[in-house]
Amino acid sequence: MSLLEITDLAVSAGDLPLVDGVTLDIKAGEIVALVGESGSGKSLTALSAIGLLAEGLDVTRGQIRFNGASFLGEGAQDLGQVRGRDLAMIFQEPVSSLNPLMPIGAQVAESLIVHGVASVAEATEAAIDMLDRVGIPDPKRRAQQLPAELSGGMCQRVMIAAALISKPRLLIADEPTTALDVTIQAQILDLISALAKQDGTAVLMITHDMGIVAEMADRVCVMYGGRIVEQGAVEAIFTAPRHPYTGMLLRTIPRLDHPPKQALFAIPGNVPSPKNWPTGCRFNTRCDRKSGRCDAVPALTGDQHRTACFHPLSEA
């Protein structure tokens, strides 16, 4: 059974659609990567899942089930009960995502306290342990410090500690390493996968970096223009991408076996803004395989490896 099941999700700002018919599921213990350029709707999908859409954004269609319970529409349960306990999230900017005036230990302990899982003393104890687990030296002393006294990498470790302290069943990681130094990125990613494995936590990893996907994910969902264009096991996507967009994304990874001084590949054109989304396949403004058929919306077809394209790169 799926842990998180998103069906036909649509998110709009007023009458402007931003996410349009996303269907996605994550099984327990699985690491799923949600890939796409900025503006593709991947963060919105994640935020809808945890119920933290910004003011003015609304889920207009679809269904979200977590652990079997529905969180949208009639008979929906309160996400607040689940948030921070079974479902946790970490964000892009570790420094600003921490309350600047609260000691980090208290922030790590907070989810245990608000869900009534532990007393303040127990939670503080647990927070120090957790800080130790995420590799923060001298955790007892550090717990008393404010975020401003820590480096960005350390802050992200604190965020991870705060997210994982309640042993959630699903962790949503929204580009957790973009703001960090390259050297730290690997450590953080290793930490996430290690901890997830230890506790059996599923991870929804949101990223635009195909390298990270290759390294961590079990499965991949590629988003473009608010829709999922391709999804499947990580090997299948990397070895035989079907959607032209996925193909192009893969070509953006710099490779050592390429001749030196060759220009890096860039996807031609820009991501159109939601106001200017084309009818039909939304990639049709940038696609080199476009035909007349592409003015219609392609369905997401396939079994394990699904694609929404009339002219896929390789047939199933």
């Binding site: 948030r83 600003s96 995502s97 921490l98 608000v114 705060a162």
Partner: protein, 308 residues
């Protein structure tokens, strides 16, 4: 830290000195109070005699120097209208002013802060617009008008509160509200914008992701972070309160410094005016200093030296 305080003290002294000098000379531009003191039948000789008694016949610069000499010795002088030492007059007014300013601040805080927070949390909802309307309405009436209306309604018609005067807590209610209403809007607005600012910050979202609900979010995360603009506005508001008190104190016959200011300016009671202005200047300066110290308590990141 010590250097900072010394620097502040030096600034305060120069400001106070400047204020005193300016007030001393511009006051005397307006003529002296001899005509007010003498009865209508007084002759020109009476005028000259009175001017001599009060020392107004001396050259201005001489008067100024002797005034400075007194100030250095902490001698505030004597009121020639009230025939009493200025220090004594001030001492009787200060507690009254503190009560009124305190009452007004309580009104402004107790109503303004929650309303501001509600407006921020309910942004875009109808309740927020109604609150904003109410808050702005509070600030859209001159105090001499809202004051007399309150007196008529609660003092004369309903007889719930004494129309004017001092003495009991009941006396304090209406003047505090009249004065507090003006600042209330400022507080509500500042709180709203501070809370809105904070609400947009990443740490709020991550706290929510941790499962923190609104009450705790406001109590544990928002309040302290939003406090800084509120505190700095309070420092500014204190001098505003003294200024606004002029009319409120007149309407409610509240014997504070505001009324004293008007009366002593109107009667050219130079020594009292100088003392009141000096006091006001120091209050403003200390309010700002206190605000800086409060920042550093609330926000440990602010190191006093760097906040300058």
């Amino acid at each position: 830290m010590r250097l900072f305080l010394l620097n502040r003290l030096f600034q305060a002294c120069t400001t106070a000195f400047g204020v005193l000098t300016l007030v001393f000379f511009i006051q005397r531009l307006t003529g002296d109070p001899t005509a007010l003191l003498l009865p209508e039948t007084a002759t020109q000789e009476d005028f000259e005699a009175m001017r001599k008694t009060l020392g107004f016949d001396r050259p201005l610069i001489e008067q100024y120097l002797s005034f400075l000499g007194d100030m250095v010795q902490f001698d505030l002088g004597k009121s020639f209208i009230q025939n009493a030492p200025v220090a004594e007059i001030l001492a009787s007014r200060i507690p009254q002013t503190l009560q009124l300013a305190g009452g007004a601040l309580v009104v402004a805080f107790a109503i303004g802060l929650p309303l501001g927070a509600i407006m921020a949390l309910q942004r875009g909802k109808w309740i927020s617009r109604w609150i904003m309307g109410f808050v702005l309405a509070c600030q859209s009436m001159p105090t001499f008008w809202s004051g007399i209306m309150m007196i008529m309604v609660f003092g004369v018609w309903l007889k719930w509160l004494p129309p004017s005067g001092t003495g009991t807590l009941a006396h304090l209610v209406m003047p505090s509200i009249a004065l507090g209403l003006l600042s209330l809007a400022t507080y509500a607005r500042i709180t709203r914008s501070a809370v809105v600012d904070e609400l947009g910050r990443d740490y709020i979202r991550s706290a929510r992701a941790r499962g923190v609900k609104t009450p705790r979010l406001v109590g544990k995360h928002l309040l302290r972070n939003s406090a800084i603009p509120v505190i700095s506005i309070t420092a500014l508001e204190v001098s505003q309160l003294l200024a606004g008190a002029v009319i409120v104190e007149t309407v409610f016959a509240w014997p504070g410094l505001g009324q004293l200011t008007v009366q002593s300016i109107a009667s050219r009671d130079f020594a009292v005016v100088q003392a009141v202005v000096l006091l006001g200047a120091w209050v403003t300066i200390f309010a700002n200093l206190l605000a800086d110290i409060l920042y550093s308590i609330i926000d440990p990141r602010v190191r006093l030296g760097t906040s300058l």
